[in-house]
């Protein structure tokens, strides 16, 4: 099963490589990874998407908890949560009909066109990874020039929060 794991880490030298290194050494996969400092500049938050059965996820969390710089670990997928990913996408948009169609699709998916030339649209789209995938399918492989995705971030619903 796909899990979103959030990790608060000390904002220290080498911490990302330690976390990533643990995954490599133990043969766990990382589907996506995002990291940035939090409101507390001494802390960074890593959000990591991985796939595995319950035993594997339990091991991943336990092994993460052994790393010195790791302050807190939470499996978002344990409870109700909100996940978001951002995508920037450059598509070929030549000819009135095609341009209209892309604009319509972007609106349907609640994206925004950020930049336009006479041949190209650059679109911003935010949502679950699934929604972003669906948009890519809707646009069609043929007209996609470039895709950049941020990786998933997540936060728990309700009053549960991850803080030191």
């Amino acid at each position: 099963m796909r899990h979103i794991i959030s990790i608060l880490v000390d904002n220290e030298f080498g911490v990302l490589s330690r976390v990533a290194g643990m995954f490599t050494a133990r043969g766990y996969n990382i589907e996506s990874l995002t990291v940035a400092p939090t409101d507390d500049p001494s802390l960074s938050r890593i959000t990591l998407v991985t796939i595995g059965d319950d035993n594997r996820i339990e091991q991943i969390i336990k092994q993460l908890n052994k790393l010195l710089d790791v302050v807190k670990v939470m499996d978002m997928t344990d409870g109700p949560h909100i996940e978001r990913e951002m995508m920037l996408i450059k598509v070929q948009a030549v000819g009135g009909e095609a341009r209209d169609e892309i604009k319509r699709l972007t609106d349907i998916f609640r994206g925004r066109v950020l930049d336009v030339t006479d041949k190209i649209f650059t679109i911003e789209m935010t949502g679950t990874s699934e929604k972003l995938d669906a948009f890519l399918v809707a646009i069609g492989r043929g007209s996609i020039l470039e895709v950049v995705r941020s990786g998933v971030i997540g936060i728990a619903r309700g009053e549960k929060h991850l803080r030191v």
Binding site: D10, S17, L68, D69
Partner: protein
Amino acid sequence: MRGADMIVQVLADEGVDTVFGYSGGAILPTYDAIFSFNEQRAKSPGEQIKLIVPANEQGAGFMAAGYARASGKVGVFMVTSGPGATNTVTAIRDCMADSIPVVLITGQVATGAMGTDAFQEAPIVNIMGSCAKHVFLVTRPEELEATIRTAFEVARSGRPGPVVVDLPKDVQNWVGEYMGSGLLDIRGYRQRMESLRSAKLSDRKCKQFFEMLRKASRPIIYAGGGVVSGEASEELRSFARTFNIPVVSTLMGLGGMDTTDDLYMGMLGMHGAAHANYAVEDCDFVIAVGARFDDRVAAKAEFFAPNAEHVAHIDIDAAEIGKVKLVEWAHVGEAGKSLQQLTAWGSENGFEKDYSPWLAHCAKLKEQHAMNYDRNSDLIQPHYVIEALNKLTQGRAIISTGVGQHQMWAAQYFDFREPRLWLTSGSMGTMGFGLPAAIGAAFACPDKMVIDVDGDGSIRMNLGEMETVTTYGLPVKVLLLNNHGDGMVRQWQKLYFENRFSGSDKSLHRKDFVKAAQSDGFEFAVRVSDKTELEKVLKDFVEFQGPAFLEVEIDPEAGVYPMVGPGMSYKQMVTGEFIKSREAVGSQKGVLETSDAF
């Protein structure tokens, strides 16, 4: 104060009396600081920090490890950047795999030169990051002092392990104020350690445990290295005796339970005693303490203790719970404290159960399936050497080993009355461990006899350290069991590769080990190839004051039995010709089925 002097001062504050290491460019300031530190204490040598120089940095690593294993204190070693540091990678990984607390200080090129492919530069943080419990790189000199202090805290707390501190040369040369206290803020780790230390077994958990014990009629304690590293030996013995539960030990756990105790059933696992493995096979309740169901014990977790209704697991590392074997009852905490609480709870609540039929069964197993070998052979059997030596040392000497057949024979035939007498590279299986580990132990425990039992393959790996023994005039005894080959590899090649001895035949090797020992200054350097001489020479060897080297030409075809093949269950254990097996196992000859587990 110079950064280098601060490092030495923190070492002194931490109670370090010995540093093992090899100097070089990037660590020169700190070596100089040790020199000055000792010079200032010329009148009180007891306060000095001994600096012990090996032949190779890997040797320094295993010396520090031997020191830590024998004493329970943090072992310290210090090397230069680049090759000095990379030579210690094996030792660091070995300490990680066996949970041994050491601190390694590596010199690094100056911060400005880092990343420029400078002379003797290596990315130690990256390399060691994958092997050590933690690596610190000090780039802010004002954090130097606190970092060294924190390294000791991390090495010894929780599940112990190796910590590396990478120190750029400019940080060592920096001048600042020595604070004398202060640690790095490692809040997450420290919080987890705090909750480990305060972890208490709840009344409910104790009750559950004793309900399982009450239902059981054949309980067994499976004691691992955590009993030794957690200083839980007394608590284990008291728990076992209070409730009359037999104990099997892992390779790393040897000495946790007195091996001469009636309740002791022997070492279990791939080369465990037949009676130990049968007891595990027969038991109906496994109580695992500081053990991790590793593949040399439980090749296939589902076949391990197949008749056990319940498994209970106590470990300091939460990640070990459920990693290999799913258990019904688990507690994450210190082994000693946990056992003490269970003993107290059981006694207070009047727990009593008569396990005498089970104990009688175990006694019978020990009698019927006793360890044995070819006692009538004209060739010297390695087991005979260990047995004879054990009669002289009585389970009181520190024994270190290399890796291979001799290691297993030593584990099987020596007694260990106390913990920290058995120094072996268990998890990593590093050949060449024995000699430097013995040197480290000799510094840690000058009042104990230290014997390195080695093989001809293993001792070659760090043979340079023979000279270190004589340089420091250490009363280390080296017993070399020479079978002119890599015996364990040959044993597997016989079993699984139809006698194709690829790379394991050493019959063309010419080394005269006795001459080598003599050239390194061993005054006692003797070879025995006649069985009738052995007992007398062993006595001389043990009684000799000072470095002693004894080579024994053993039967090159001697094998290690029992053996549970990789990926197999204890039911399929091969006991060999001289140990009685419980039932005729499948084919004992020819190529056995092997699994993909190895």
